[in-house]
Amino acid sequence: MEEKVEIIATDEKQEFIVNMGPQHPSTHGVLRLVVSLQGETVKNIQPHIGYIHRGIEKMCESITYPQIIHLTDRMDYLSAHQNNESVCLLVEKALEVDIPDRIKVIRTIMSELSRLQSHQLFWATFGMDLGGQTCYFYGLRDREMILDIFEETTGGRMIVSYNCPGGLMYDIHPNFQKRVKDFIKYFRKKLPEYDTILTGNVIFRERTSGIGPLTLQDAISYGITGPSARASGLSCDVRKHEPYSAYDKVKFNEVLFSEGDTYHRYMARNDEMRQSMNTIEQLIDNIPEGPYAVKMKPVIKLPEGEYFQRVETARGELGLFVISDGNKNPYRVKFRSPNFVNLGVLNHLAKGFKIADLIAIAGSLDFVIPDMDR
């Protein structure tokens, strides 16, 4: 710990150092930000992470591939489904297994539902970060319905563990299609409410537009992905560039803005909710018949070599890099988690703005701390 203390002490004397976190209402978890202030203006931010570092990469080295999905659930718990999908896709790609369309379509629907509930929670917490507590309850009210759909089919609400290498754990619940359709119908009516209470509010506009602008060059250099990068105009949607599962069969727009400020990062997520609903609507009536899982070998061993699989989670690009030595457990697993990379840009964005803007900027990057720490 001496190192950290030393860094804090060498800051200029004029600056007022506030320790935000690890327990703080708006860091959304155990993120600690050492903020140097001059008056209300942010001079420097030092993020300290690792409070829930569980060593998932190390643990992966001693477990088998089907077991890894239970760890990836716990990284970005709001994109649990996409995280699992990355492992499954990688294993299936390495073993060259042909996956039936039914599995692909169900995976895509589940991914989009996951994205939808993640963006709902983003909307809810972002409103709360800016002081509008009513948003939180509106967001959670609608998110609850998706979690109920998850629970009915997968048995889990947040930690779903529904994918497994070779397909799905179990078939969808008979009610699944009906409930998803009901939800889409319901949420299409509720989404304008979100705009009424937050997007159109003049205080909200004042608080967010022009705050923490991220240029395209910086977004590329900092490796930002996901809605945060698309708000700056970086086309980085893996679903478009390297379509996996059933994304090559559906039509949806990649939401792109060019301003890159907090407001457009918010709008990118807001519009993605609509795109997700479009995607689900295209697929939900056309789930093909077939098996829900392919028979895999009892012990999955990947051929020796290096594999890389990208998926688009709700927060950006999750890269899964696996080095296999031919054994039943991987030699090295690296998760390129979007939150970890996006954290790097926080200091760059918030420098020179006020404390309240720091909260808005951090909120608009939509951090999930377990994904940073892994």
Binding site: I49, E306, F308, F321, R332, R336, H348
Partner: protein, 151 residues
Amino acid sequence: MDNKQLEDFIKSIDQDLEVRIGKQFTEVIVPPAKLYSLARQLRENEEAQFDFMFNLSGVDYGHDLGVVYHLRSTVHNHSIVLKTRTSDRENPQIDSLAGIWETANLHEREVYDLLGIRFTNHPDLRRLFLDSSWGFPLRKDYVDDINIVTK
């Protein structure tokens, strides 16, 4: 450029580099001494323009310690993998690429934290997740009798 063209392109930069086409990407094995200059050229060359580093992972190969860089160009939409390794396990040193890609900053701190590879010229090389008294857990010779369950 596709993988074959990339191979030729790398060869045109430096004849001595070992290039092979892997399952997905063109992989370049580059010695630590040449890493920074090659990375700089890949970033700045008009034809290559690898401006987006989407992954950086440290690997313990048992005998050597290595770093794998995944690069992509947002302009030309092609990808390449750089691999470098050092056999010095006591004081492994590799040039930092944080001056070329800002995202390398956090990634290299993570690799330093978990594998103990020192990145020279890194602006702010500190432990990231763990205490300074901790070992380097991602190394294969890391011993932890209590927390790591081995079969």
